[in-house]
């Protein structure tokens, strides 16, 4: 089973890395990170903060952009090309197929994140601010977030068009970042059980955002990392299983 999943994942990653959009994004990342060094002239005294803030945010935003542009069309593309028909005649379940697609997408994002982090580290060093190991904490949080959003994109891509899948993924990303504030508002308004229950379906993306802590030298308790990793995995597996259930019912002829 794992061999089949890994084969699908590998080919998904290879296919994505062949896409020109990834190279454009990498170039954009380099320009953005470099420009953050230029932006610092507009904020004397806060240069280090701004370079790190912009760099970490750019890594997150660009990886999300890749998911929205590429991740949401992963399944549909193979359906259109009819390559999925051939693949499913092999002894591969639809869950394995989706899991492989998701793993391929996550691997690509991981490669992308590592490269962008390298560019950021070089940029920070070049600016003379000194790269610090604790920045990796924020990047690890970003990776957890990407794992979740990638699973959501795969879920949506199983039952709708790439455009709608991208829009739904974007909507859930926005809702995920607003969920904490919304919950506070619900609590302040006396509480609403239905809304509270609905909010549980929305990924709590604030958990993965460690950029503020990292930039302001605030120690992040190790428990938060552990909870973030477990949450990301559980949420992703649930989303992929749901995707497999939906995908199993689809008639691909």
């Amino acid at each position: 089973m794992f061999a089949r999943v890994l084969t699908i994942a590998r080919w998904t990653a290879v296919e994505m890395l062949r896409e020109r959009i990834l190279y454009v994004v990498l170039l954009f990342a380099a320009v953005l990170v470099a420009s953050s060094s230029v932006l610092t002239t507009l904020a004397p005294g806060a240069q280090r903060k701004i370079v790190i803030d912009f760099g970490l945010a750019a890594i997150d935003m660009l990886a999300i952009l890749v998911i929205l542009l590429n991740g949401s069309s992963l399944v549909r593309r193979e359906m259109d090309r009819r390559s999925l028909d051939v693949l499913l005649t092999k002894p591969t379940t639809r869950l394995e197929y989706l899991f492989g697609k998701w793993l391929g997408l996550v691997s690509t994002l991981l490669v992308l994140t590592v490269v962008m982090s390298g560019i950021l580290a070089l940029s920070v060093e070049a600016a003379g601010f000194g790269w610090q190991a604790r920045y990796l904490g924020a990047i690890a949080g970003t990776v957890c977030e990407l794992v979740v959003i990638a699973s959501v994109a795969v879920l949506f891509s199983t039952f709708t068009s790439p455009t709608l899948a991208s829009l739904f993924t974007l909507a859930l990303f926005v809702a995920g970042h607003l969920s904490q504030g919304m919950l506070k508002m619900i609590e302040a308004g006396g509480g609403n059980t239905l809304l509270e229950r609905l909010s549980l379906a929305v990924p709590s993306l604030g958990l993965f955002n460690l950029r503020g802590e990292v930039v302001h030298d605030i120690a992040v308790p190790p428990e938060r990392f552990v909870v973030a990793v477990i949450y990301a995995l559980v949420y992703s597996i649930t989303a992929l299983y749901l995707a497999a259930l939906i995908f199993r019912r689809r008639d691909l002829r």
């Binding site: 904020a43 806060a46 970042h177 504030g181 950029r211």
Partner: protein
Amino acid sequence: MKQTAWKLVVLLSLVAATVSVTRVGRAQIREAPETAVSALPAIPFLEVLALGYRETVADLAWMQAVQYYGEYRQGGNDLSEFQHFLDAVNTLDPRFEHAYVLGAFVLATDGRDLDAALEVLRRGARALPESHRIPFEMAFLTYVMGGDVDAAVHYFGFAATKPEGRERALRFQAFLNRRLGRLETAWVLWNDLYHNTDNPSLKIVARESLQRIEAALRERDAQGSASDGPGTRPPETGKGDL
């Protein structure tokens, strides 16, 4: 051949039209009244808009604030909306220490609103209780802009309780105590600095200050004055609330 020439003419005409319209548009922007603040949405809206990128949006708002201040220096605005920028930055990123310090400085010096500046710094002190720069700035502005030496001594004392800024704050506290005529208090503070600093230059300054204070005390005793006025009070510890 003729068709290609026509296409080229159409293309060049379109390019020329685009360049002209761009120039007109740029001129319109230059002539438009200052719109810096309208470019920054209301704070609650900004909070929602920032999603998970609050610190980055705070940075952008701060850069806009700096530009707005730059325009003021060149006579482009009256600085009346600077506080709005500052509130946006501090709401989005309450731990942005530099924004509190520099923002308060601008409000106090160019804006001539010391109360607003101190309020910004108080908000900063609540968000960053470990900061030594914020109480130091409060002391500095209170002394330089407000002329309230007593309050400045209190704030410097508070800044001196923070390990990072202790020496600098103690030095100012000692200086002001001497100005107030509290020679014993000034002596105690300089003596503390002299014995506890690792900075050789500061040690020299502290020793010279101690010598000058001792000379002043001897002179005062020679004149038969038994009292040190307000200086007979115990030294300001700086402990307490801002």
